[in-house]
């Protein structure tokens, strides 16, 4: 699915970007500071992998981080990462799952 379609299909999501696991941006749609979000997601995901290592939980497949003002979603697959930014929502988990399925 193209990024525009993903952006439209997710509730309260303002922008979506596709990039590399190291934070390089390949494409973006909607309202998102793709360079910044992809770079931050890359640094964060690398550190979050340590949580998985601690639990021997295998690869990180998807994650979200919600603040009082925004929700950040990431779907990891191979060396590619799709990130999204949206408003705070009650069903962040549902958006995260949909992003992972739609990419």
């Amino acid at each position: 699915m193209d990024l525009e379609a993903i952006c439209r299909s997710l509730k309260s999501v303002q922008g979506v970007a596709r990039g590399s696991e190291s934070g390089e941006v390949f494409a973006a749609a909607g309202q998102i500071d793709a360079d910044t979000v992809c770079a931050v997601a890359a640094v964060t995901a690398t550190a979050l992998l340590e949580v998985g290592e601690l639990l021997s939980a295998g690869p990180l497949e998807r994650w979200y981080f919600a603040t009082e003002e925004a929700t950040y979603y990431a779907s990891e697959r191979g060396f590619l990462r799709v990130v999204a930014v949206g408003e705070p929502v009650r069903n962040a988990e549902s958006n995260c799952k949909s992003l992972h399925a739609a990419r």
Binding site: Q14, G15, A28, Q31, I32, D33, A34, T36, V37, V40, V43, T44, A45, T46, A47, L48, E50, V51, G52, L54, L55, S56, A57, G58, P59, L60, E61, R62, W63, Y64, F65, A66, T67, E68, E69, A70, Y72, V85, P88, R90, N91, A92, E93, S94, C96, K97, H100
Partner: protein, 509 residues
């Protein structure tokens, strides 16, 4: 109650009204037999709650006030993820109210209305979850007495099967020990919903116990599987006679695709004589699971032997098989539950314990801003230090966001191939939940939010997180583990919850 003029003149409830200086009324959610339920905002906690008010016409009725108060007391005593949590109750200028967790989803009655009948798998989950909640209530001597689809709420997305069932409305519940001493439900009234009544209720008996609830739940299960209730009648009298005297049509005759073994389950569950039915919710749930020929993904884990269904493809058979992943370096021992509460607050442990009981949850921990595990509960034997170590790594990971986001962190969820980790911040403290990969995301999110709401209530009641989560004096030792918890620079790096600046959207540039 009295005919006190002040009560009669108590103000009405409307959007924008403030109740007890704590709740701002937002909108009407629905109406029940005794009152209305409103969505409200808890002003102190900035949290959505559901507030139930007794109807104005019933406010001065002693019997109804007693039932209303009893609902709050009964539900508040039961700590189960499958019973709606009561956060507060009170009397605001004559307006009796109960504040409960706000549930997102729909009741089973509406779901049945939309879907007609349900699959065996979904029904098995309904029975499993309801039995789990009833088991807790019955253990406290509380019979619900009005089990029906409208009182079974499916949190989350029921359409994708990922729901967490919660029992609502303990308005007609009665403590078995108080039978005979209360008059509000013994004055010849029929209490309950006729189609789901047990024979003893239909006969107007007042000495009911939990086995009456189990009969009603079996009627609900029959309704789920066939789209109709087992006892029918053209009038209320006919219906009651049918419940008391008729045998229901075997379920396999109504739907030949259903396993024949279910006929035996319903035959026993719908016995007229309570002593010939299943004698406990646990027994009934296990029997259903057996005849349904499956374990639902959220089926109750009543025994330690069934604590680890999701670890690997098969059932764990030895301690060595029990780990978070198939190749885990972190082993947990079978049957080695691990629990701690280093806080001075006794209210924390039951909240964590309830969350730890959710299907496929391996452990729950509460961690301080200085990354110290304050309390934890793990039926899978996860040690307290693991939660401190997770918190440390999460703090480290989220430091990148400090450069781009100014808002306080609320939640983080990580879905790994073999496990999931949820972090929910309560102020600067972190509630951490580790589940297997089979833990349903919606179920887990709803459960974590419920627990967080209850912890926030503890914080408010104690006058702040520092007081609510204050460690006992004897529990000051740092917890070793990970990269040296307690000695890491991150351990003293300040609040766990990052405060960061907002990411600018492209349009803001």
């Amino acid at each position: 109650m009295s005919s006190d003029g002040a009560l009669k003149a108590s103000p009405s409830i409307f959007p924008g009204a403030t109740i007890s200086s704590r709740f701002r009324i937002e909108r009407l959610l629905g109406r029940g037999s005794m009152g209305a339920v409103w969505l409200a905002r808890h002003l102190g906690l900035d949290l959505d709650v559901a507030v139930k008010f007794i109807d104005a016409a019933l406010r001065n009725e002693q019997d109804h006030r007693a039932r209303f108060i009893r609902e709050a007391q009964s539900a508040a005593r039961i700590t189960s993820p499958h019973v709606v949590s009561v956060l507060d109750s009170g009397d605001d200028a004559g307006r009796l109210y109960i504040a409960m967790e706000y549930l997102d989803g729909e009741d089973l009655g509406s779901f049945l209305e939309r879907n007609g009948q349900l699959s065996l798998e979904v029904t098995a989950r309904v029975v499993a979850h309801a039995c789990r909640g009833l088991s807790k209530a019955h253990a406290l001597g509380i019979a619900h007495r009005d089990i029906k689809p409208e009182n079974l709420f499916l949190c989350g997305d029921a359409d994708d099967g990922g729901f967490l069932l919660k029992i609502l409305d303990f308005g007609v519940a009665k403590a078995e020990s108080s039978v005979g001493s209360l008059t509000s439900t013994s004055a010849g009234q029929l209490i309950g919903s006729p189609a789901y009544m047990s024979p003893e209720q239909a006969r107007g008996l007042t000495e009911l116990d939990g086995r009456s609830d189990l009969f009603s739940l079996a009627v609900v299960a029959y309704h789920c599987l066939t789209g109709r209730t087992p006892f029918l009648g053209d009038s209320l009298a006919d219906l009651l006679l049918s419940i008391v005297g008729s045998d229901p049509e075997p379920i396999s005759m109504r739907d030949p695709r259903l396993p024949r073994a279910l006929d035996g389950w319903f035959e026993r569950a719908l016995q007229k004589d309570p002593s010939r039915r299943y004698q406990s919710a646990k027994e009934m749930a296990q029997a259903f699971e057996l005849v349904a020929g499956q374990r639902s993904s959220s089926s109750p884990d009543y025994g330690m032997a069934s604590m680890f269904p999701a670890l690997g493809n098969g059932r764990a058979s030895s301690p060595e098989d029990l780990s978070v992943s198939r190749n885990s370096s972190m082993r947990v021992a079978a049957g080695s539950g691990s629990v701690s509460n280093d806080t001075a607050s006794p209210g924390i442990a039951p909240i964590l314990s309830q969350l730890a009981e959710v299907g496929h949850v391996l452990g729950v921990g509460l961690v301080s801003p200085r990354l110290r595990p304050l309390a934890h509960h793990s039926n899978a034997g996860l040690p307290a230090m693991i939660f401190g170590a997770i918190a440390e790594r999460v703090q480290s990971a989220l430091q990148a966001f400090e450069n781009v986001e100014a808002a306080r962190a609320r939640a983080l969820a990580l879905y790994f191939q073999n496990a999931s980790v949820h972090v929910r911040w309560i102020g600067d403290h972190a509630l951490i939940v580790v589940g297997t990969e089979q833990a349903h995301p919606t179920v887990l999110t709803v459960s974590v939010n419920t627990a967080a709401g209850r912890l926030q209530t503890c914080v408010e009641q104690a006058g702040g997180a520092a007081a609510a989560f204050a460690p006992r004096l004897s529990a000051a030792a740092p917890v070793p583990g990970g990269r040296g918890f307690g000695s890491s620079p991150l351990a003293s790096a300040g609040p766990l919850s990052p405060t960061v600046r907002g990411v600018r959207t492209r349009s803001e540039k």
